[in-house]
Amino acid sequence: MTVRTVEQPDPVTLVAFNRALAEHADGLKAYAARMLGDSTAAEDVAQDAFLALYRHLHQVPSSAFRPWLYRVARNLCLDQLRRRKFKLSLFRDLQRDDDQSFTAEDPTAHAPDQLAESREANAAIESAIEQIPPKFREAFLLCEMEGLSYEDAAAVLGCPVKTVSTRLFRARKRFQSLVSRLIKV
């Protein structure tokens, strides 16, 4: 990591950066948390990604902020996973992350039995996402969970748009079969 002098971007770019910070920070953290299975590390990844964006503001057009941030976050996550010598196992420690759990309660569920049910359902969904093969899961996390377009997801994953749509389709089918018991059609 290097230390450099602070350069102020122009006001228009700064506004775009602040908007990106407001709009994408949560999503970026959620994405990183699912990649790493660790919400504290995920917040660091999100912050590192924004720091990198700030340092490269003059090179990245504001329309490309989102895919750029996700790509950087993905690189950081994969680097962490590699360093930890983890396999890409998502949500490993998720159940222990009680500070801000993914499996938070359904706000509409108030009764204890409803809360328990909601928590159980969310855990089952997280577990289902975890069981999607990694290659397909990445497309699922980006497109389905974070709402990126196929084009942006392709830029993040470094693959053609067609590949993204195929991977997403397979991920959805797998996810649908895994959560079928929760689905009331």
């Binding site: 917040e43 990604a49 959805r172």
Partner: protein, 378 residues
């Protein structure tokens, strides 16, 4: 429409990515097909389950901490640009490395003066076949190489050459721009016209070569190890737009070329940062090269000395200069078989004249001398 197609399109339909006609066809199929109708409902339900999941939020201090880090001047973490290398690519690199090592060993072996009797044992197998041409007199034999033994031109080779030539043009344009600015500062703008033209020529070539590299990158045939190089290349291609350069005068240099050159810092490392694919099937190779030669026909000529058509009906190519061995490649296009030699590898273009290749005018190209001596500006 069969169910298999319908299943895939149902996923696209969830994201609203089907054209209206296709959407209508899909819905018509779903209405008449029980299993597809069930899957459609289940996919919708599964999607709403996924979207119902609670969102993680960054902590309250996230923004403040980020601004503190920014203000402290902390740089970008190195891992930001550390792209994962897939296992398949690693295997490819190993294979390509082994192949390159074998090629070097064979080339070294071929350069050793071999006894006459041992030559026949190796000729035509692993190196260009060396034979005496029919019209040669004893003592005046001219070595030749069969077409079959010449390596085909590959997109990798083209990309590498494009990166080298791009850098040559960048170096030339930068130094000429500096000279131009020196003249202006000293009020000796007289005679600047040829330099202005040359700077614009280099800019046009950077645009062409950069466009080819970006296209190869978009199609995932090449990558750049440093994203900054990638970004700078994109920016240069965008700024050095053909239309904006069309006037080719001092104003163009001042308002288009100079700002573009001043905004880049890493572009000189383009050849080193280029990562090529390494392995091609003949069909892929041909498809990519043909597309480049059709989209940007001028580029092939800028990168290679070209001998068009199959000039030697006897199917053997005279290799007049031993140094050209291994530097001539075969390229098939609509006109037939061409021989090409990368400009950066040919030290003495005059030898190519005897092959019938046309060295292009110096001003428009980067030759081996420039390629080997020019260094990125510091």
């Amino acid at each position: 429409m069969n169910c298999r197609t319908a299943h895939y399109e149902l996923s696209l339909n969830l994201d609203g990515r089907l054209p209206s006609g296709r959407h209508a066809m899909l819905m018509e199929h779903v209405d008449g097909c029980g299993p597809c109708a069930t899957l459609w409902k289940e996919l919708q339900a599964a999607q709403s389950l996924a979207l119902r999941m609670p969102r993680q939020r960054v902590s309250n201090g996230f923004r403040d901490q980020l601004w503190q880090r920014i203000q402290s001047g902390e740089g970008t973490p190195e891992a930001v640009f550390r792209e994962p290398v897939p296992l398949v690519s690693k295997v490819r690199y190993v294979l390509a490395g082994a192949a390159a090592a074998a090629a070097v060993l064979l080339a070294l072996d071929a350069l050793q003066p071999a006894p006459e009797k041992s030559r026949s044992a190796t000729e035509g197998v692993l190196q260009p076949r060396l034979v005496a041409r029919g019209d040669a007199t004893p003592g005046n034999t001219q070595p030749t190489a069969s077409y079959a033994s010449l390596a085909p031109l590959t997109p990798d080779l083209l990309a590498r050459e494009a990166a080298l030539q791009f850098r040559n043009n960048y170096v030339q344009a930068s130094s000429q721009l500096a000279a131009l600015e020196g003249r202006q500062a000293g009020s000796t703008a007289q005679g600047a016209e040829p330099i202005v033209r040359s700077v614009c020529d280099h800019a046009v070539q950077m645009h062409d070569l950069g466009s080819v590299l970006l296209r190869l990158r978009e199609d995932e045939h090449v990558t750049f190890s440093n994203p900054q190089v990638d970004a700078e290349l994109r920016m240069m291609v965008q700024l050095l737009d053909e239309e904006r350069l069309s006037r080719g005068d001092m104003d163009t240099v001042r308002t288009v070329v100079a700002p573009a050159l001043r905004r880049v810092h890493r572009i000189a490392a383009l050849p080193e940062d280029l990562r090529v694919r390494g392995i091609w099937t003949p069909a892929e190779r041909q498809q990519v090269l043909m597309r480049i030669s059709i989209d940007r026909p001028q580029v092939i000529g800028r990168l290679f000395y070209v001998m068009p058509g199959q000039p030697f009906p006897g199917k053997d190519v005279p290799v007049v200069d031993p140094q050209l061995q291994g530097r001539i490649f075969v390229f098939q296009d609509d006109c037939g078989t061409n021989l090409v030699a990368p400009r950066s590898t040919v030290a003495n273009p005059a030898t190519l004249l005897r092959l019938g290749m046309q060295p292009a005018p110096e001003a428009a190209t980067g030759t081996a001398d420039r390629a080997s001596t020019s260094q990125p500006p510091r």
